[in-house]
Amino acid sequence: MTEARPNPATVLSDAADLGTKMLTGGQLLHGIRDADVQIATTPKDLVWRQDKVSLYQFRPLAAQRIGVPMLICYGLVGRWTMTDLQEDRSLVRNLLNLGLDLYVVDWGNPSRADRYLTLDDYILGYLDGCVAEIAGRASVSSINLLGVCEGGVFATAFAALEPQRLNTLTLTITPIDFHADTVENRLGHGFINIWTRSISPEDVDRLIDANGNLPGEFMGAIFNQMSPMRSLLKYNLDLLEIADDEQRLMNWLRMEKWIADRPDHPGEAAKQWVKDLYQQNKLVRNEWTLGGRLVDLGNIRMPVLNVYASDDHIIPPATSRALGGKLGSSDYTELALPGGHVGVFVGGRSQALFAPAVASFAERHDLPKKTR
C-alpha cells in the first residue's frame, strides 16, 4: 500500500485549521452549560393533570384559524419533546403559526410504582381524560387527534373505540401491521420487529417481572444496535466535525438531550406492546381488546391522514401503510415525508411539508362553530 504524500504547505495549513477547530470547539463546549441546552421551549400552560399524566395547552403564536382543537399524543417510548426540539425545527411551533389550538399530553416519568399500568389505562383512562378535558374547554363534541409512533397506536385504538369523539385522526410514523417489516425486508430496517419476534412471550414476562418496567436504558441499547457504527463515531469524529460551529453544536446537544430523556415503559403496558402487538400483531388483525372491547379498525370513520417517513428504519413504511384499506373511513390520505424516523420532526425538508399538510387537513375538515 502506497501512502498519500500531500505537500508540506497543505499539511501545515490543514494542521492549523484542525488546531483552530479544536480550540474553538473546546471553548464552545467549555462555555455551554446543561441549562443552556433547552428543548420544548414553546410557551404552554398546564390545564389538567391525573396521576403522573399532564395535559398542556400551547399559547397561540398566531390568530386561531382552525376551530377544532388538536391534541398531540406521543408514545411511552421517548417523549413528546421531539415535536418541539428547537424553534426552527418544531412541529408544535409550525402548527401554532398556522392557527391551530394545540395541546400535548406528557405521560410523565413512570416508576416501579407504575408497573401495573396497562395500555388500557393509558388509552381508555388517561387519553380519554385528555380528550374529554379538551372537548370541555373548547365546547366541542369532537377534537382532532395527532398520534406519534406508539402514541399513534394509542390514537388509532381510541379512534376505533370512541369514533364519535374525534373529528379527524392524524397518524405519524405509526406501526399498524407489526409484521409488515418483511414486505421490503431492507437491511438495517425493522430490527425491533425482528428482535421482538426472536424472544418468547415467557421471556417478555420474566423480563418485566425482574425489572418491573421496561427500562428506558434497555430500549436505548436496542435503538443503538440499529446503527452499530454510528455509536463508535458519534462522540469523536461526528462531534469534531461540528465542534467549532455553535449553531450545529447546539442542535446536536439538543438532540442528545432528547435522546437522554428516555422514560421507563410501564411493565404491564410493555408486555401488551411487545406480546399483543409486535409478536401477535393483533391490531391489524382486529383481534386486540382494551377494557374488554375489541379494537376494530373498521370503526374508524373520521377522516384519516397517515404520515410516514420513506426511510424510517424503526417503523418501516409498510408497517404504517397497512392502515389503508382497513378503515371504515373512505377519507384516507397518505403522506410520505423524506428522511427517517426522527427526520420527520427535525429534518430541514419536512419542516416545509409536515405541519402545512396537517394544518391543511385539519382546516379542510374543520367544523362550523354551530356544529362543533
Binding site: 416501579r112 410504582a113 425489572n211 427500562p215 463515531l233
Partner: protein
C-alpha cells in the same frame, strides 16, 4: 507469510491452553466452594441444603464458551494487527481520523459497538453484592449458578459478535488488497471500514445465531436478577424490611384504586342519558393483568 485472517494455529493453541486453564480453574472453584460449604455446614449450621448437582456442568459450559471466545479473540487480535499496519500514517488533519480508525480496528472496541445491550443487561443484573451469604447456601448457589450461566451466555453472544467483526475485517482487507498500490487516505479508509463493518453487523444482527444468543443472554440476565431478588427478599423478611413483593402488592392495589376512581370520574363526565344506558349495559370487564389477582375487575 501467515494469513492474518486465517485463525492462527500458534496463537489459537495458546488461547486454547488458556481456555483449558480456565476450565480447570472453574472446576477448582466449584470444588473449593463445595468443600467450604460442607465445612461450614458441619461446624455451624445444621440441616444444610445440598448444593445443586448441576453446578459443575454449568462451569464446563462456561469454560467451553470462554474457550470459543478466546480463540476468536486471538484471531481478531492477529488480524487487526495486520490491518492496522495498512492504515496510512499522516501528520495532517487526517491524524484524528487515522487515530479513530486505529481505535476502531482495536478488537477491544468491537464487542462494545453492539455490546451496549450487554453492558446494560449486566448493570441491570449485577446489582449490589453481598459478602456474608454463607448462611443461605441454596439461594447463594442459585445466584452463583445464574451468574455462571450469564457469563456463559455473554461469552457465546460475544463470540457471534466477534465473528461478525472478523468477517468485516476480512472483507475490508480484501477491498484494500483489490486497490493494489493506489493511495488511500485515512478518511477514505475510515469510510470504507465503517461501511463494511456496518453492513456486516447489520446482517449478523438479523441472523439466527445472533438472535438466539441474544435471547439467551437476556433470559440469563433476567434469571440472575430474579435469583438476586429472592436473596434480598430473604434478608428483607429476616430483618423486617419491606420486600419487593410487598411493595408490588401496594402498587398493584394503588393502581387498581386509581383505575376505579378514573372509571367513576368518566361516568360522571357522561351526559345523564349515556350514564343511564351504560348502567344497564356494562362494559366487559378488563382482564386481570397480574397473575393470581383476585380483586374485582373494572375498566380503566
Amino acid at each position: 507469510m501467515m494469513n492474518p485472517l486465517d485463525y492462527s494455529k500458534a496463537v489459537t493453541d495458546f488461547w486454547s491452553a488458556q481456555g483449558r486453564a480456565l476450565l480447570q480453574a472453574q472446576e477448582q472453584v466449584g470444588r473449593v466452594l463445595a468443600e467450604g460449604m460442607q465445612a461450614v455446614a458441619a461446624g455451624k449450621i445444621p440441616n444444610i441444603p445440598p448444593m445443586p448437582d448441576n453446578l459443575s456442568p454449568e462451569a464446563e459450559d462456561l469454560a467451553r464458551a470462554a474457550k470459543s471466545v478466546v480463540g476468536l479473540w486471538s484471531a481478531a487480535t492477529s488480524a487487526c494487527s495486520r490491518l492496522a499496519a495498512t492504515i496510512p500514517s499522516t501528520t495532517d488533519s487526517d491524524g484524528i481520523v487515522e487515530a479513530t480508525l486505529r481505535k476502531m480496528m482495536d478488537p477491544r472496541s468491537w464487542t462494545g459497538a453492539t455490546g451496549g445491550l450487554d453492558d446494560v443487561l449486566g448493570r441491570m443484573a449485577e446489582g449490589p453484592r453481598f459478602a456474608d451469604l454463607w448462611e443461605i447456601e441454596r439461594r447463594y448457589a442459585d445466584v452463583l449458578q445464574a451468574w455462571m450461566n450469564l457469563r456463559r451466555r455473554s461469552l457465546e453472544h460475544n463470540a457471534v459478535v466477534l465473528e461478525a467483526w472478523l468477517d468485516a475485517a476480512r472483507q475490508f482487507s480484501e477491498q484494500l488488497a483489490a486497490r493494489n498500490a493506489r493511495p488511500l487516505d485515512a478518511k477514505t479508509a475510515l469510510t470504507l471500514w465503517t461501511d463494511t463493518a456496518n453492513r456486516q453487523l447489520l446482517e449478523t444482527q438479523r441472523s439466527e445465531p445472533f438472535l438466539q444468543t441474544q435471547a439467551a443472554l437476556i433470559r440469563a440476565t433476567t434469571e440472575l436478577r430474579l435469583a438476586q431478588q429472592e436473596l434480598v427478599e430473604h434478608f428483607g423478611k429476616q430483618y423486617g424490611f419491606p420486600t419487593r413483593t410487598e411493595l408490588d402488592d401496594v402498587h398493584f392495589a394503588l393502581t387498581e384504586l386509581r383505575r376505579e376512581l378514573r372509571a367513576v370520574q368518566r361516568e360522571q363526565r357522561k351526559p345523564a342519558s349515556q350514564t343511564a344506558a351504560s348502567a344497564t349495559t356494562p362494559r366487559a370487564p378488563q382482564r386481570a393483568r397480574r397473575a393470581g389477582a383476585k380483586r374485582g375487575k373494572i375498566a380503566p
